[in-house]
């Protein structure tokens, strides 16, 4: 069974007085505990696809099936309840949180909204979530703007897994991190996938990162998928012009994936 099936998804925007397709007939599937990477140059429509899949914006055409049900048919309270299973991690972990929030509040929200734990149980749950992503439980009291970027991205992951999702959309989730921190976060994501069987839609322009984490890859150009298949095979021998260009732009690909981690 597929976790996410997207077919013929389209989204148009206006540019000047003409409309153009930011996403143009995109179809893909993601299975359980599978990672599909979306790669492509800046402006190719990666973030738009992420926002469509998360129902942050509405498509002009196409279909999204999530765990076998029409995700686009949901609205209001039914949609909000369903969101527990489909989470996201953003690129900039500072922009992703209310600047006034504490770590505890950021993690308390999903637990409260989806009735996952009673008020009395939540502090323990928050501590467990922090430990699960490799953070000290004492961090809960810290304001979100006072912890480091790497810690913040771990908190973002903790928030995403708080509701036991089956799919997490990660939009350039490690792009803003230092190389060493990036490796640790990728390890954490792989570890979570093994244990919780979470699927990832992993968006990145960095093929080195993609090779370390993704099973399959779809390469985007101007809103269309130009090439898709096994991640390592395509990165080793891309057929499309955009795929070749992305490989050429990633010099450290010559190193082994273990080193990239």
């Amino acid at each position: 069974m597929t976790v996410l099936a997207v077919s013929n998804l389209a989204k148009h925007y206006r540019r000047g007085d003409k409309t153009f397709a930011a996403v143009d007939g995109v179809s893909f599937e993601i299975g359980p505990a599978e990672t599909l990477a979306l790669a492509g140059p800046s402006g190719s429509g990666k973030s738009t696809i992420a926002r469509l899949v998360l129902r942050l914006i509405e498509p002009d055409a196409g279909r999204i099936d999530f765990e076998g049900h029409d995700f686009l048919a949901l609205s209001g309270a039914a949609l909000r309840a369903r969101r527990a299973k489909l989470q996201m991690v953003f690129q900039d972990p500072l922009a992703a949180f209310n600047p006034r929030a504490s770590v505890a509040r950021v993690l308390d929200d999903p637990l409260r909204i989806h009735n996952i734990a009673s008020r009395a149980e939540r502090p323990d749950r928050i501590a467990a979530l922090l430990e699960r992503v490799g953070l000290d439980a004492n961090l809960a009291a810290s304001p979100i703007h006072e912890i480091s970027g790497g810690q913040r991205q771990r908190v973002a992951i903790a928030r995403a897994i708080a509701t036991k999702p089956s799919l997490i959309v990660l939009d350039e989730a490690v792009a803003a991190l230092d190389v060493s921190v990036r490796g640790q976060i990728l390890e954490l994501l792989l570890d979570l996938q093994r244990e919780e069987r979470i699927s990832y839609l992993f968006i990145s322009h960095d093929l080195g990162v993609i090779r370390a984490i993704a099973h399959r890859i779809a390469i985007l150009d101007a809103g269309r998928i130009v090439e898709t298949g096994d991640a390592r095979a395509i990165i080793a021998d891309p057929q499309s012009a955009i795929g070749k260009a992305l490989v050429a732009a990633t010099p450290k690909l010559v190193r082994s994936s273990q080193e990239t981690l």
Partner: protein
């Protein structure tokens, strides 16, 4: 501490803080120093100031203690000014947040209403409202707030429009937060600082409006107000100008104090920078 030091850097802010402290002290001390009804007759009519040390500022046309009236007037001015400004900021923040966050038809309707209120001069609005409903402290507060909430509403809306595009609002939607909770828990608190920077101007205007209403006899008749004192003194302006001048000076100093202190706060918190 740092912020406090920054606040007291300019002489304007210090002057404003001093005046405000004095005003608040007067308002708080009024029932202690001058217990009993400030509108009761305390001595001979039209006693000039600095003659009798039990009535240091003399008496008015009816023999009421002018100093007691000034103290109790400070209470009214401050209470009405703060309450009206708080009400205006609250209404403005809520309307602006709803309009900016909901967008579409809700935004359209709310901004039309805001336009309508803004087109009517706020003093006429207050005048009409008090004339229809009848003068009392609560009505005066509402009347002033009715004319003062549009500025905060516009500012809150503009701020919300920029905040609602941020990632953390999308994040709140992704975790399934209700739109009303997103608007008021996540967006509004972050839209507030520039709106609050308007408060000194609104308080100052509210105090002036209250005085003007009282001057026209539309204040709460059971309260001593500076505006009412000026109106009273006007009838004997040639023979006892002090009766109009004393509350007039108190009013000017208060408005100036509120304004200067407000500017000081804005400067010291550098909200100004995020405003531009």
């Amino acid at each position: 501490m740092n912020r406090l030091r920054r606040f007291f850097r300019t002489p304007e802010a210090i002057a404003g803080a001093l005046i405000l402290t004095l005003l608040v002290a007067m308002a708080l001390a009024a029932p202690l120093l001058f217990p009993g009804d400030p509108q009761a007759i305390a001595g001979p009519a039209l006693l000039p100031p600095f003659q009798d040390w039990s009535l240091p500022l003399g008496t008015d046309r009816l023999g009421r203690d002018v100093l007691a009236e000034l103290f109790h007037g400070a209470r009214t001015s401050l209470a009405v000014g703060l309450a009206a400004a708080a009400a205006a900021l609250l209404i403005g923040a809520v309307v602006g947040t709803l309009a900016g966050f909901a967008g579409g038809l809700v935004d359209e309707v709310l901004m039309r209403v805001t336009d309508a209120f803004q087109t009517v001069p706020s003093f006429l609005l207050a005048l009409a409202f008090v004339s229809i409903v009848g003068p009392s402290l609560g009505v005066v507060v509402v009347a002033i707030a009715l004319g003062a909430w549009t500025g905060p509403a516009r500012l809150a809306r503009a701020e919300v429009l920029s905040i609602r595009e941020r990632d953390y609002v999308a994040g709140a939607r992704v975790i399934g937060m209700h739109p009303i909770a997103i608007a008021f828990r996540e967006v509004l608190p972050n839209a507030l600082p520039p709106v609050l920077a308007l408060s000194s101007v609104i308080v100052a205007a509210a105090i002036l409006t209250e005085a003007a209403l009282s001057f026209l006899g539309l204040g709460d008749p059971n309260r001593v107000t500076w505006g009412g004192m000026i109106a009273e003194g006007r009838t004997v302006l040639r023979t006892a100008p002090f009766l109009s001048i004393a509350p007039g000076v108190a009013l000017v100093l208060t408005v100036l104090g509120v304004y200067l202190a407000g500017e000081g706060v804005v400067e010291s918190t550098a909200v100004r920078r995020s405003l531009s």
